[in-house]
């Protein structure tokens, strides 16, 4: 019994390492089989990260919803609608870019809260509420855009999806992050409360991997055109998500509600209020994703974001989240999003046909969860 703790914590860590391993294998595989070996080049990796951004931003919010034991199927349609709202505000109503951004995010947050309220306070299962939303918001997007695309002329707005962080800024940010990581390691080493305190040397050694990752990431991105703005936004949101799930009372409540709703309620947690809030958070993040998507394409499309909900859910599940609730990490969901995007990107480079891509992605999702289940059963 005495090593239950180590088994459990190591298993969580093991899972993360296994996923990183899978990702590395996918990358190497694609690099080898791509004509001209173009997968692992700064240009393609920069492209890959940008492709991850939209799904990743949603996956962070979706993860929180799934952890609380709910689901949201409507995010893809909301991307279409919120993107439409932004474009309509600028092109048809002559609003400024800032006003358009605010309008889109406020709209998607309001939609999230509305659906959350139906789930939490009217007791309609979220699967049904958001299945309705999947249809309704897509319809709303088509209605708003009149079935057409609205092109966007504002170059600054397009920058949200296409600009890059200037190279010297990138290095500045990299330096700052390295300092933060090292300082955190130093503080951990000095903390008296840490059970497995290994001293300054060991903590700094443990910080070597993240430092290398940061430097490597910025080096690769700067070797092309600098870190793409969508990636900057995605990473900020990912960190915010990690922070919310790990270090806030709200985050802890989400895990408690998803883990055992009755026990959570009897412990004084307002389950309904927290479910409402988490849908609001996902709504807001969906708005952000809609802006990135619209800016990147350069126009609002009636079918923008179609099937994005499934990508986001798949990312969470590949990242170890349980659809029953109570289990999952933002880090896992982000890795899941990166794996999904890598498959998209790699298969396109190799020239796999569209329909084959879908078949392969679908199969991989099922196999990944199957392997995970088999692994859980064994231990």
């Amino acid at each position: 019994m005495s090593d239950f703790k180590s088994i459990f914590t190591n298993r969580a860590a093991l899972r993360a390492y296994a996923m990183i391993g899978v990702l590395a294998a996918i990358w190497i595989l694609f690099h080898v089989i791509t004509p001209g070996h173009t997968f692992l080049t700064p240009r393609n990796l920069s492209n890959l990260m940008t492709q991850t951004a939209v799904t990743g931003v949603i996956a962070v919010g979706m993860l929180m919803v799934i952890v609380s034991g709910q689901i949201d199927l409507s995010v893809g349609s909301i991307i279409g609608f919120a993107g439409g709202v932004a474009a309509y505000a600028m092109a048809d109503m002559g609003y400024s870019m800032t006003a358009a951004i605010i309008a889109a995010v406020v709209m998607s947050t309001a939609i999230g809260l509305f659906q959350g309220a139906l789930t939490a306070y009217v007791n309609i299962p979220s699967f049904i509420v958001t299945l309705g939303g999947l249809l309704a918001w897509r319809g709303a997007a088509k209605w708003l855009l009149g079935g057409n695309t609205i092109p966007i002329s504002d170059e600054t707005f397009k920058g949200i999806g296409n600009a890059n962080l200037p190279i010297e800024y990138g290095w500045g940010v990299a330096g700052l992050l390295v300092v933060i990581v090292l300082f955190a390691a130093y503080r951990r080493a000095k903390s008296t409360d840490n059970e497995n305190n290994g001293g300054v040397g060991r903590e700094l050694l443990k910080a070597a991997l993240p430092v290398a990752a940061i430097v490597g990431f910025f080096a690769i991105m700067n070797a092309w055109q600098g870190v793409p703005v969508p990636v900057v936004i995605f990473l900020c949101i990912a960190f915010l998500g990690v922070f919310i799930t790990r270090s806030t009372v709200f985050g802890r409540y989400l895990y408690a509600i998803g883990g055992n709703a009755d026990a959570a309620r009897l412990s004084g947690i307002n389950n309904r209020w927290n479910v409402l809030k988490v849908f609001g958070v996902l709504g807001a993040l969906t708005g952000v994703a809609a802006l990135i998507f619209t800016a990147r394409v350069g126009s609002a499309l009636p079918d923008a974001g179609t099937l994005k909900e499934l990508d986001a859910i798949a990312a969470c599940v590949i990242g170890g989240a349980s659809l029953v609730g109570g289990r999952g990490t933002v880090f896992g969901a982000c890795l899941g999003a990166l794996i999904m995007a890598s498959l998209d990107n790699g298969m396109s480079l190799v020239g796999v046909s569209d329909f084959m891509q879908d078949i392969i992605k679908g199969s991989i999702l099922v196999i990944a969860v199957g392997l995970d289940m088999a692994g859980r059963k064994q231990s």
Binding site: M1, S2, D3, F4, K5, F8, T9, S191, D193, E195, S247, T248, V249, F250, G251, R252, Y253, Y255, A256, G259, N260, D262, A263, A264, R265, L266, S267, G268, I269, N270, G326, R327
Partner: protein
């Protein structure tokens, strides 16, 4: 020749030897009790017997009527005439009693179920057992006690010769226990061999021919029941002499802390039905108030409504420390200073896949950590005290709650509520399904808390527990308060009379 022989059974789990040379014999018509603390290996032994662990996964010999058998699954053991009724019932709630009894074996013609035949056979079976249960009734609509009896009917419909009952009376009312024992007595006469697992030694001694005690995966002793005593068995179970299960404790009663007036609670499914009918009580600081009553008397509903956790209609007035308060949600109750150690820890108390630490700080998280951000450091510091004072046995606070024994899980739930710093603590069945050693520790803790001035309301189905711990006892019968006794007045017969409605 023995009906069943289990010889020198050894079963290993990674890193643990769960069974270490356990032997057990059962004769036809014998009532054989299997006792031991939780984790002693009783359930593992029964899983070996039932084929849940196939023959390849353990060492040792199992023989039925002298023939060595080797099961590779539950189906094999069922075919050999073994039926096991587990603690958690395995009935399908949405199906009828008859369908459940013949689940998977329904009489049919060319794949079409012969309903007339099915219900006729179910009806006869239930009648033979002396049960007046409608075979067409949905199982979910029956009380838990009747469900248990249906489970037994199901086992017998398979012509079981060996019947294993794992804590069958845990959820039964005394009347239902009587029905059960009548049935078991009848089965005994028909030559069915029974292995009976129970924590309730009164029941064990009532009918057993033999009693086998397991401890730490070994057979400690096997007695002819008439040649041993309760104290002797308890001593063998815990490996030490238990002199006094309920330590004498002097409580200094202070002021009335909580006063609940005219509590009426209505059923959620039938809004006209009163589950609690105009009950009033108060509890003083330093006092243990026991609430006795049979299953379904409304005890849990009474506490839940005061705590703001009852989701149906209810009305009541509360006075805390002399001033009236309203409690609409558990959060308001906690803030006012009421704690509620709920029944059924796995369902209502714990988040089974989270750590001890996460579970323990959950109800007081905002006070321990801060309103917005959590602080692992503060949480660890807060949890250290209950970990120590409740003597929770776990490698660390990061141990996952689901891996703990029942007793330690219960202590984690208790610790969670102590961290909310309550003035009044409700305890609903705080020792159900936990071993004798852990029970004693929880009794000691209850006394300690009362001595420290906490007001405690204790609901328990075990009468000796209520009588042994309480300074005062109130009794509920079908939602109405039918008696109130001081410690001196509260005898088992008086309380039982009030609980069965043959009042005062």
């Amino acid at each position: 020749m023995a009906l069943l022989e289990m010889h020198d059974i050894q079963k290993d789990f990674p890193g643990v030897r769960a069974l270490d040379g356990v032997s057990l014999t059962l004769d036809a018509g014998e009532f054989h009790a299997l006792v031991g603390e939780n984790g002693a290996g009783k359930s593992t032994l029964m899983k070996v017997l039932s084929g849940v662990y196939p023959a390849s996964e353990f060492q040792g010999r199992i023989a039925i009527e002298g023939q060595t058998v080797s099961f590779s699954g539950i189906r094999d053991s069922e075919n050999a005439g073994i039926a096991i009724i587990f603690q958690e019932l395995s009935l399908v709630k949405e199906l009828s009693v008859g369908e459940n009894i013949f689940l998977g074996r329904a009489p049919s013609r060319m794949g079409v179920i012969d309903w007339t035949e099915l219900y006729a056979r179910a009806s006869k079976l239930l009648h033979d057992l002396g049960l007046s249960i409608d075979p067409r009734a949905k199982v979910g609509a029956l009380g838990i006690g009747q469900q248990q009896l249906v489970e037994i009917a199901k086992a017998l419909s398979r012509n079981a010769r060996i019947l294993v009952l794992d804590e069958p009376t845990a959820a039964l009312t005394d009347a239902e226990v009587e029905t059960l024992f009548t049935i078991l007595h009848d089965l005994k006469k028909r030559g069915v061999g029974m292995i009976y697992i129970s924590h309730r030694l009164d029941e064990v001694f009532r009918m057993s021919d033999r009693i086998t005690v397991l401890r730490d995966g070994r057979t400690v002793a096997s007695h002819i029941a008439s040649e041993t005593s309760k104290d002797g068995i308890i001593a063998e179970m815990v490996g030490r002499e238990v002199t006094d299960i309920f330590p004498e404790s002097e409580h200094d009663l202070g002021e009335v802390v909580l006063q609940a007036e005219n509590v009426t609670v209505y059923s959620i499914d039938e809004p006209d039905k009163r589950l609690v009918d105009d009950v009033s009580f108060n509890v003083r600081s330093g006092e243990v108030l026991g609430i006795a009553g049979l299953m379904g008397a409304g005890r849990s509903e009474l506490l839940a409504s005061i705590f703001g956790a009852w989701q149906g209609k209810h009305s009541l007035k509360l006075v805390l420390d002399g001033s009236p308060i309203t409690v609409r949600t558990p959060w308001e109750a906690i803030r006012a200073g009421i704690g509620f150690v709920t029944e059924d820890r796995k369902r209502y108390g714990l988040i089974i896949e989270q750590t001890i630490l996460d579970n323990m700080t959950l109800a007081a998280l905002k006070r321990i950590s801060g309103r917005i951000l959590t602080s692992k450091q503060n949480e660890r510091r807060a949890a250290a005290e209950p970990m120590r004072s409740l003597r929770i046995k776990a490698p660390s606070v990061e141990t996952v709650a689901g891996t703990l024994s029942g007793g330690n899980q219960q202590k984690v739930v208790l610790g969670k509520w102590l961290l909310t710093k309550p003035k009044v603590l409700f305890l609903d069945e705080p020792t159900r399904g936990i071993d004798v050693g852990a029970k004693q520790e929880i009794y000691a803790e209850i006394n300690k808390l009362a001595e420290a001035g906490l007001a405690i309301v204790l609901v328990s189905s075990e009468l000796p527990e209520v009588l042994g711990l309480s300074d005062r006892v109130i009794v509920l019968h079908e939602g109405k308060k039918t008696g109130e006794f001081t410690k001196a007045e509260a005898t088992a017969t008086r309380v039982m009379a009030a609980a069965t409605g043959h009042g005062v």
